[in-house]
């Protein structure tokens, strides 16, 4: 089937199998390998991207379901080469080790801060609770997001 998906501001028209998962469309068809895949059961959140401005697990979305819609991935997080405060926060506060969960965590964090510019540590924990990090014990991810909230220069 044919799909038209707007990814990071560019419209892509592609012929795809109806069963193709969005994560594989992004990674294998478009070469956007920043979003990762980490589980078979929608548990890990390594694949989180935005679909029409809402974080989704792209391993649980068919490409067909994204037809005519907008997708935003980690590759679109910076602004004209300037790191987003969330990206800066992760680097500042050692919010990543292997970096595999990081794109998904940052996409969720960006969404959180857009909707709650001054979250508590508890609210950050809740926001990322559907995602798994095997490296950081979450402590520094929480600190990174709080750092970003503090250094936000006007939001998105």
């Amino acid at each position: 089937m044919q799909v038209n998906v707007t990814v990071n501001g560019t419209v892509f028209t592609r012929e795809v199998e109806p069963r193709l998962l969005l994560i594989h469309f992004l990674r294998d068809e478009l070469g956007l390998t920043g979003s990762h895949w980490g589980c078979d059961t929608s548990n890990c959140g390594a694949c989180v991207v935005w679909l029409d401005d809402v974080p989704v697990k792209s391993c649980t979305v068919l490409t067909a379901m994204a037809d005519g819609r907008r997708v935003r991935t980690v590759e679109d997080l910076d602004r004209g080469g300037q790191l987003d405060p969330v990206q800066q926060g992760f680097a500042e506060c050692h919010g990543l080790q292997c970096g595999f969960c990081t794109p998904g965590m940052m996409m969720t964090a960006r969404w959180l801060l857009d909707h709650n510019p001054d979250p508590s540590a508890e609210q950050v924990r809740e926001a990322i609770s559907g995602q798994v990090c095997r490296c950081t014990g979450y402590e520094n991810i929480v600190r990174s997001v709080l750092w970003a909230a503090k250094h936000e220069g006007g939001g998105t």
């Binding site: 990674r27 990762h36 980490g38 548990n43 992760f90 970096g99 940052m106 402590e139």
Partner: protein
């Protein structure tokens, strides 16, 4: 960072909480992982796996799969057997089936390998393969596997009549028995350290590319030990080693899971040779959890002997170790039970003895893997639980009992009853600091108040000593390869340098910390050091990253190579300043004339001169490049004190970890920020292992932990905000005084959580329950009917 320390940070000029170099690519989504690789014409591999745990294979019919329009080739065990590759050596002197030929011996075992033009088609084709199984009785219980009438799993081994793998012992039995005979008090406990899985967020995978023209094989692999893999491919597949290049790109975590060579890797290699195309194989999560290296699975009996006033006299342990269907544990050959016999831990005692028996079961092969420091995790858990049980028996505070028995600083270097020589330590200082951060006495007062109100609050301690940085070549090897690591340091004329190392980061930040080591030694900026790793064509031989060995071994090699460079620079500086080399001293990051510090040359000035026409003394080559191979004289022995505060709901059995305090001493900290990050990770492991993580089997050998729905990992909701502290006791034999730390918290923390929950439940008379302390398991323990947590309740 918020960590507290009672000593100032030590180390060279570039040490400190530097932000990581590697983050620039990761935060932009530009990390480069194995599954990101796409080569022209690349085929995608998928593995057909056994649905049953034990069965004879009558036939494998691949005709329909081969007829699939997108399938390029299918490999079976029979195909591999023709090439002599149906079996491969494990890293524990056993063999493992690559693709099964005779029987399957665990659920998820590899049977056939399909290569197709896309990953979905490869999966489709698996469904077209027809395997005829004759199901055999399976044994998933280590205790039953030792029974005389148990089905024999490894009938491929000549003459094998049982499931016994090895017997091993350490310590002095007579001395231990004498200590026990003289004791006022003996406390014993059976405990299970259940099977778990490291589950890095990135699963294992590979891209193999064989070039038939020049016979070169390039393998991108999720490998913690690229050089060891290269040698294994050469030995297993008979390929010339100089034609093999292993590239380990960014790894999405490892924790031991990415040490072995897995059947899928070899299938991709053979597949590329057969098809002439690059072949990618990346396992899915169930494959990762069901077939790659598990960890733990130790059935332990421990006994501790003491005087009535709380002086520990001796320790005994006997262990039944479940190794699964093939013995693939990753540990030095000389130690089939790893370093378990460091089980006297941090305490001063006269005697100890332990025995370990290994057994085959119809469960996934492997072993050791998961940040365990070669089985010290199991040992620490055993002794720390026993010490708590002893405290309860003696009606002593567990902190007080520990303080009475911890090794004293003046006892170092200390040789423990089973023969390990600990390098350095100040244990009471670490425990007191942890108690201070926790507000220990206040916590005990709060607990008393809550108990009076009928609330169940627990305070659990653990103290650990690890031996990491394997290791001395005279004492340990893996498959005959000594555990030394090389470092090459190239110096460019402008004074910037490239360090090539053999170890492989999986998130530990080597590109930053190794640059800090070199920068400190040479008085240059960290930005002027480029660290190359993960490519066997570009780096010197070494055994890789596991067992917390990067800093103890490879970090030492980097420091030694840098010091060689510095000595070469001294000769050049002497020629530049027209003085004798002996008249120079290294100060403030430059060589300068003793007593005349104005007269000196920076490293960059010297580097340029070394490449110039400057006349050098006879026999001096010029240039500054140097290399080193570091064969450690001993392990390093990090230690720490952990305190975990929990609240338990006796109605539901739910445990909340309220606080977790961790004081770690890993000697000199190159980058305290990275050290703290590693400790955070291990503390999360402790929460997970103690409360959630277990790979459970049913009686037929069905794995019930094959997904993240069933194998529960801690999330941000289960982990508390960790409170860290540090003491610094340098290692006397390590060039920069550092010790390993990557596994410390994984090793030390589970016991603190379990001790805390048992402390909470003490008023209910609960003495012990096995991990994981799920609500069901806690509730059952409260009812006086503890669960066997490794088997499905029947």
């Amino acid at each position: 960072m918020t960590g507290r320390t009672d000593v100032p940070p030590a180390g060279g000029g570039a040490y400190g909480p530097l932000r990581r170099k590697e983050d620039a690519r990761f935060v932009r989504g530009k990390g480069h992982f194995v599954d990101d690789i796409a080569l022209p014409g690349m085929l995608h591999g998928a593995i057909l796996r056994s649905p049953v745990a034990h069965a004879t294979i009558r036939s494998v019919d691949t005709a329909a799969a081969l007829a699939h329009p997108k399938v390029a080739a299918v490999i079976t065990g029979a195909d591999l057997a023709e090439r002599g590759l149906a079996w491969m050596p494990t890293i524990s002197a056993d063999v493992q089936a690559v693709l099964a030929t005779d029987k399957v011996r665990f659920q998820g075992q590899e049977i056939a390998f399909v290569m197709a033009t896309d990953r979905y088609a490869a999966r489709d084709a698996l469904e077209l393969i027809d395997v005829d199984y004759e199901v055999l009785p399976a044994v998933a219980d280590a205790l039953l596997a030792m029974a005389p009438d148990a089905p024999v799993i490894r009938d491929d081994l000549p003459g094998k009549q049982d499931n016994h793998v090895f017997d091993w012992a350490a310590g002095d039995k007579a001395a231990a028995d004498a200590a026990f005979a003289a004791a006022d008090v003996v406390v014993a406990q059976d405990m299970l350290y259940p099977r778990s899985h490291p589950a890095p967020l990135e699963t294992c995978g590979t891209v193999a590319c064989y070039d038939p023209l020049d016979g070169r094989l390039t393998v991108w692999s999720t490998s913690q030990a690229p050089h060891a893999h290269r040698t294994l491919y050469a030995l297993a597949a008979g390929l010339p080693e100089h034609k093999i290049r292993i590239i380990s790109p960014d790894l999405g975590g490892g924790f031991g899971n990415k040490v072995p060579v897995y059947p899928g890797y070899l299938c991709a290699v053979v597949g590329s040779m057969i098809t002439g195309k690059p072949v990618k194989w990346v396992e899915d999560r169930s494959e990762n959890l069901m077939s790659t290296s598990f960890a733990r699975d130790y059935h332990m009996h421990g006994e501790i002997a003491a005087t009535r006033d709380g002086k520990i006299l001796g320790l005994r342990a006997s262990v039944l170790a479940d190794h699964g269907a093939f013995n693939g544990t990753a540990q030095p050959t000389q130690y089939p039970a790893g370093f378990f016999h460091m089980f006297t831990g941090s305490y001063d005692m006269q005697a100890a003895h332990c025995t370990v028996t290994g057994v085959y079961t119809n469960k996934a092969p492997g072993g050791v893997a998961y940040s365990c420091s070669f089985r010290i995790t199991e040992a620490v858990y055993l002794v720390e639980r026993l010490v708590d049980l002893l405290a309860r028996e003696l009606d002593l505070d567990p902190a007080e009992l520990r303080l009475r028995n911890l090794l004293r600083p003046d006892q170092f270097p200390y040789t423990c009853p089973t023969g390990w020589t600990y390098d350095s330590g100040d244990y009471p200082r670490a425990l007191r600091l942890a108690m201070d951060i926790a507000g220990y006495d206040e916590l005990r007062r709060e607990q008393a108040v809550r108990r009076a109100r009928g609330e169940y609050m627990g305070i659990g301690l653990s103290f650990f000593t690890e031996g990491v940085g394997a290791g001395p070549k005279s004492q340990m090897d893996i498959l005959g390869l000594g555990l030394a690591d090389g470092a090459d340091l190239r110096v460019h004329p402008t004074g910037s340098v490239v360090l090539a190392i053999s170890v492989q980061t999986q998130g530990q930040g080597h590109e930053t910390t190794f640059a800090q080591i070199v920068a400190s030694e040479l008085g240059i900026s960290v930005d002027d050091v480029e660290v190359v790793h993960g490519d066997t064509d570009r780096t010197p031989f070494g055994m890789g990253t596991y067992g917390s060995r990067s800093t103890p071994v490879s970090g030492a090699a980097a420091a030694v190579a840098a010091r060689r460079v510095r000595e070469r620079a001294r000769i050049v500086a002497a020629a530049m300043l027209e003085v004798a080399a002996d008249d120079l001293e290294w100060a403030d990051g430059r060589w300068q004339v003793r007593g005349d510090p104005e007269q000196g040359r920076s490293f960059a000035q010297i580097a340029m001169a070394a490449h110039s026409g400057l006349e050098l003394p006879a026999g001096v080559e010029g240039h500054l490049d140097a290399s080193a191979v570091y064969n450690p004289p001993n392990l390093t022995f990090p230690f720490g004190a952990y305190i975990c505060v929990t609240d338990v709901d006796p109605g539901t059995g739910e445990v909340r970890v309220r606080r977790f305090i961790a004081v770690d001493d890993c000697g000199v900290r190159i980058n305290p920020m990275i050290v703290e990050g590693q400790v955070h990770r291990g503390l999360a492991d402790g929460v997970g292992m103690a409360l959630m993580q277990a790979i459970v089997f049913d009686a037929e050998g069905n794995c019930l932990g094959g997904s993240f729905m069933d194998y529960l990992l801690p999330t941000s909701m289960e982990c508390p905000s960790f409170e860290l502290g540090a003491t610094v006791t340098p290692s006397p034999h390590h060039p920069i005084g550092a010790k390993g730390v990557g596994e410390s918290a994984t090793v030390g923390s589970p016991a603190a959580v379990v001790n805390s929950v048992m402390d909470a439940l003490a008023p209910l008379g609960v003495r012990h329950a096995d991990m994981p302390l799920t609500p069901a398991s806690v509730w059952r323990a409260i009812q006086g009917r503890p669960l066997r947590t490794d088997l499905a309740a029947s």
